[in-house]
Subunit: 138 residues, 4 copies
């Protein structure tokens, strides 16, 4: 699957991802890069992007990386997600880079970095690990 | 703070919680019970409530439990959240019961159980642990 | 399996558990209680029991709870373990109470509480969640 | 601190690290590389290195990376450690590469990769994240 196909599949299946403007920018086997544009709605006290928005982005980015790696993985479901919030993101777009660290027979294990800002100003704002349970293969 | 005060504070501060219909049902020091009503919008492929909805509920329930325990904790922010999805929730309301396991000077550590269904039919659908960084006290 | 059978199996299979004096005190389906006696060797700077000792105890206690729940689970292996250290344990025995929260077909998900001290003085010193990958059943 | 100073401090303070032959190979600010030589004692059923050995190595490697980054960090203590076991390590030395992803005022957040085998044969066998609570700075 390419970025557009992954995007279409996620938009159709995850209304919440669509809600926060989740956009797949790039995929290749084992990797996906996605973005959530800045929105007032995602703010929390202190003027920073909410934790749930960051978690939703990380979860969808992992799903995108798995779809880009494995055929017929649409029915994969999150088994575990662990997020560490490292610093307050700026009031700006948030980018996720998801890597598949291990594609097992039953589980895919991923790491996601959430980045805020652009170019040299880019900052790591949260670190995520997670696993997806893969559908059984006949 | 009582349940209504916690509710008002979360509704004002977390637009996303309000979006998913987050309702604080009960608080006491060290504990909060909250609910997200069933909504089509929170569904994902397979007809189950989305992971991000479950994470948003768990995060807000931890915040509610902390607000019910410690004065002037409004500026507390999630430091870490780890969720294990145990089974697909039914197409029904989702309830969170959050317990503060340790209120330290700098960090509050919480456990949350996400429950689907009612009464004897109630099922544990996800287990969450997380910590909030507490504001410095003068 | 009863506590003695679980103990024998762990002593034979996990030299490190034996090293730290790991003792199974009680098992029933879905539950195990185990103990590590205080030892100078497990100390770290500050006079407290080392993190690795606490992690080894928690891991073995989860394994004991699974062995007490499921037949032919000897080949189950830890898939994930997440520990939060809540306070420094006293220079005393450490007790683990492990509960199986979800016994799936592929994964068993457990919660462990590590307790220091006795009776009314008992304190929660660490909270652990973890999953074991279960052997395939024919 | 250089690798030898970090090694001496860990050997003195963590008898268990010494027990498993923990050796600091390289440090620089924000990074440490450490090794545990293969030993029969660390085996578990299936002939693989035990989970507790892997956790002890990861924990000590994080500590080494922090000591190499921050002055007077000896009293730092593990706050959280989360490990995902990705594949069975070979019956060989185990290497840990620890990176400090965020050095905050109160917490240092690290990522550790556990590698088995040498050179091109090197395999990622476990992925670890963790945080250390830092001593207050006057």
């Amino acid at each position: 699957m390419n970025a557009e196909e992954v995007q279409a599949l996620i938009s159709a299946g995850l209304p919440m991802a669509d809600d926060i403007g989740f956009t797949v920018e790039k995929v290749r086997p084992g990797f996906a890069r996605a973005r959530v544009p800045f929105s007032e709605k995602s703010l929390r006290p202190g003027g920073t992007l909410s934790g749930p928005t960051q978690m939703a982005l990380a979860d969808a980015a992992m799903y995108a990386a798995i779809l880009a790696t494995l055929e017929k993985a649409e029915m994969a479901v999150t088994s575990n997600l662990s997020i560490n919030f490292l610093q307050k993101p700026a009031a700006a777009d948030l980018v996720a880079e998801a890597v598949v660290l291990r594609m097992g027979r039953r589980l895919a294990f991923c790491e996601v970095r959430l980045l805020s800002g652009e170019g040299e100003e880019e900052q790591l704002v949260a670190h995520v690990t997670g696993s997806y349970a893969l559908p059984s293969r006949g």
